[in-house]
């Protein structure tokens, strides 16, 4: 193949260069990883008509269609108009005629206007999962219009519970659905199952008080997973009606400095999370002197320093009263509870074959 192709332009249009010259892969956004199954027919059509007949689940939950020839890109873009309008414009209320909040007319037949903000990924959340505390993809759809279309890079992962299956700790902004838990001691039979669950699966904040036959809780270290609610046979533990979130920042993989993210906000409500994220464009622009670079969010936090990041992200935000904010961030391995694993030797887990 001998053709002059501006691959930066095709990438911005969500067509990724392949190792075969002139052959590209389309990445289609699926905010929160959930769309109507009717779109699978479209995926099949694109793949069989312009692609190589195969389909890949993108690592960020995009529909990836490989083997698309450069010459087919205009036709593919025309075809995906319904998808982009149906999913982004309608489902997520995205104003396609803006880039990072600034007016810019979008030709609906031209495909994606930018690859900048990456697809928001999510676990299935409480739509299905017995562990999930929140509806993850509904939150993703509310966030989509705050970050897209924009040339500023940001990777957001949403998870339904602190088990973090979708790795909120490995992206720029990880959002973890949590529950504040209410105790109804008059319903507690003192079976201690919640304390066992908390010890085995969470942060060991519950203990059965032998004097009262009830549960003592160390509330500061509760991660809000609601395993106690799931375990309780009497509904003595219940979730408060409001959904809460932890926001984890600065996690990443990469060739240079991979690291786990750290907690920025704890016990934030949806309103707080959305108003904080609404400041992301402003922060990115400030850090990069208003010139978008191919640089992900975590690196921007590094460049600005956490304190500056905090200042801009919280600008104009009214935090919900329960919300806690990291005064500083100590980039290191994540421990929800300092030294939580320093405990009596006999309670340590054993490895290898054990005697009966």
């Amino acid at each position: 193949m001998n053709r002059d192709i501006n691959i930066k332009k095709t990438r911005l249009n969500c067509f990724r260069q392949s190792k075969v010259p002139g052959v590209f892969m389309l990445q289609m956004r699926v905010p929160g990883g959930m769309v109507d199954a009717k779109y699978l027919e479209m995926i099949e059509h694109i793949s069989k008509t312009w692609g190589d007949g195969n389909f890949h689940f993108g690592t960020r939950q995009t529909f990836d269609i490989c083997g698309i020839k450069y010459d087919s890109i205009p036709q593919v873009n025309e075809y995906i108009e319904d998808y982009i309008c149906g999913v982004d414009a309608e489902l997520c209320n995205v104003d396609m005629n803006k880039i990072a909040g600034e007016p810019r007319e979008w030709d609906p037949k031209s495909g994606y206007p930018t690859i900048g903000a990456r697809n928001i990924t999510a676990c299935i959340g409480n739509y299905h999962c017995i562990c999930g505390n929140i509806n993850t993809f509904e939150l993703a759809r509310k966030i989509e219009n705050l970050i897209f279309p924009s040339h500023y890079h940001i990777k957001i992962n949403i998870v339904g519970c602190p088990n973090d299956c979708n790795k909120a700790h490995l992206c720029d902004f990880g959002i973890i659905g949590c529950a504040k838990i209410e105790y109804h001691p008059e319903r507690c039979v003192g079976c201690g199952l919640c304390a066992k669950k908390c010890e085995h699966g969470a942060t060991r904040v519950l203990s059965l008080n032998p004097k009262t036959g009830k549960i003592d809780k160390d509330p500061c270290c509760c991660v809000g997973c609601a395993e106690c609610v799931k375990a309780c046979p009497t509904s003595a533990w219940t979730r408060e009606p409001t959904d809460f979130y932890k926001v984890i920042i600065g996690g990443r993989t990469g060739r240079q400095t991979p690291r786990l993210g750290k907690m920025f906000l704890n016990w934030a409500t949806e309103e707080t999370v959305l108003s904080v994220l609404a400041n992301w464009q402003k922060f990115s622009a400030w850090v990069m002197d208003y010139k978008p670079e191919y640089l992900h969010g975590g690196h921007l936090i590094d460049r600005a320093g956490y304190k500056k990041f905090k200042e801009i992200m919280l600008d104009g935000v009214t935090l919900n009263p329960e919300c806690l904010v990291a005064e500083d961030v100590f980039w290191a391995e994540t421990e929800y509870r300092s030294n939580y694993n320093v405990k009596p030797l006999e309670t340590h887990h054993a490895a290898g074959p054990q005697k009966a």
Binding site: N126, V189, T234, S235, T238, P241
Partner: protein
């Protein structure tokens, strides 16, 4: 006598009744279920007719009103003690036939067992009048018809809420009749569920030899791997009565406090621990066997009239591991037939 009341009239009646009675009924607690954004329906004092959930079975049984999960028996200071007063106002308890029939079983345990009457149960029970909630239909966990508990005539009043919001009452209790002096008389007789989707066959255990072999049968081992011994089945059970007592000292003064009764469960590990630390029924299968035989053999062997189950199906509904008492019963029946056949074969 039966009456029909408009929804507004029924609300007004409810307010009148509340002046004289505490009204307990199944209420919906939004998002308080085991999983997020799921509700639970449990008994609590109802402020209005609207709060009462008629179209769905409660997750927890009506017994919670009469024998609460936790209650103070008496209070002590140094060498004195005083019994708790308990509930003193009369109660109207909205309940389905299964829940009402379960109280006949509970009464046997609390007030007819070994010649001893439990005054805490008795004093509460005496304050309660049942309001029969007509079951429009049964759900797929109900098997009351198989247990013969789908009907009852033990109620002070029966109620049906129709689709148009009008409410029908059949009033039997003399004390309640004056509340209806202005109401429109109507033809209304409560209907009972005649057939459930779920049916069970009850095991016929003819003698101690078969019982002994049933206890040893491998069928119980399945539950070692499935049951997590949480006790949700017995908490949700309409008939289970097990409780434990505990002396609770107030603050740091051990001479002041209360003796408290708290519901317990034979399914929880440690239930059978005795003085000295020995424990019986150490596996989930053993505990399941105990529960099943207690409900479907031992109780009837002692009291003679019925099994200790009203087929409300709440244990099925609440089990987080999808263990069904109905399938356990089927397995028991099969095991009993197997044992009988073996015995017959051996005799030949």
């Amino acid at each position: 006598m039966s009456y029909v009341l408009s929804s507004e009239r029924a609300d007004a009646l409810f307010s009148e009744l509340k002046k004289q009675y505490r009204i307990f009924a199944p209420k919906r607690f939004k998002a308080q279920g085991r999983y997020s954004d799921t509700d639970i329906i449990r008994y609590a004092e109802a402020a209005s007719l609207e709060e009462i959930v008629f179209d769905e079975k409660s997750d927890y049984p009506a017994k919670e009103v009469i024998s609460p999960i936790q209650q103070a028996l008496f209070f002590f200071t140094e060498d004195e003690y005083r019994a708790s007063k308990g509930n003193t106002r009369p109660i109207l308890l909205f309940a389905r036939p299964c829940d009402i029939n379960s109280q006949h079983i509970q009464a046997k345990i609390y007030a007819g067992n070994g010649g001893y009457v439990d005054m805490y149960y008795e004093r509460m029970r005496e304050t309660v009048k049942f309001v029969l909630m007509e079951c429009p239909s049964s759900d797929d966990t109900c098997f009351c018809v198989s247990m013969g508990t789908n009907k009852t005539d033990d109620y002070a009043m029966a109620i049906r809420v129709d689709n148009d919001g009008s409410v029908k009452f059949k009033v039997c209790d003399e004390a309640l009749k004056p509340f209806f002096s202005q109401s429109t008389v109507a033809e209304y007789e409560p209907k009972f569920v005649k057939e459930n989707e779920t049916k069970v066959t009850l095991p016929d255990i003819p003698n101690k030899e078969v019982l002994g072999k049933l206890k040893e049968h491998p069928m119980w081992k399945e539950y070692n791997g499935r049951c997590i011994s949480c006790g949700a089945c017995t908490i949700a059970c309409s008939t289970c009565t097990c409780f434990t007592t505990k002396d609770i000292a107030y603050g740091d003064n051990p001479e002041v406090g209360e003796r408290r009764r708290v519901t317990s469960s034979c399914q929880i590990d440690g239930f059978s621990t005795v003085a000295g630390g020995a424990s019986y029924r150490n596996t989930a299968g053993d505990r399941m066997r105990f529960k099943m035989l207690h409900k479907f053999h031992d109780y009837k062997a002692r009291f003679g009239d019925s099994h200790m189950c009203v087929g409300c199906g709440r244990c099925i509904h609440r089990c987080p591991e999808f263990i069904t008492i109905t399938n356990a019963l089927n397995k028991m029946c099969n095991a009993v037939e197997e044992i009988k056949a073996e015995k017959g074969g051996a005799e030949k």
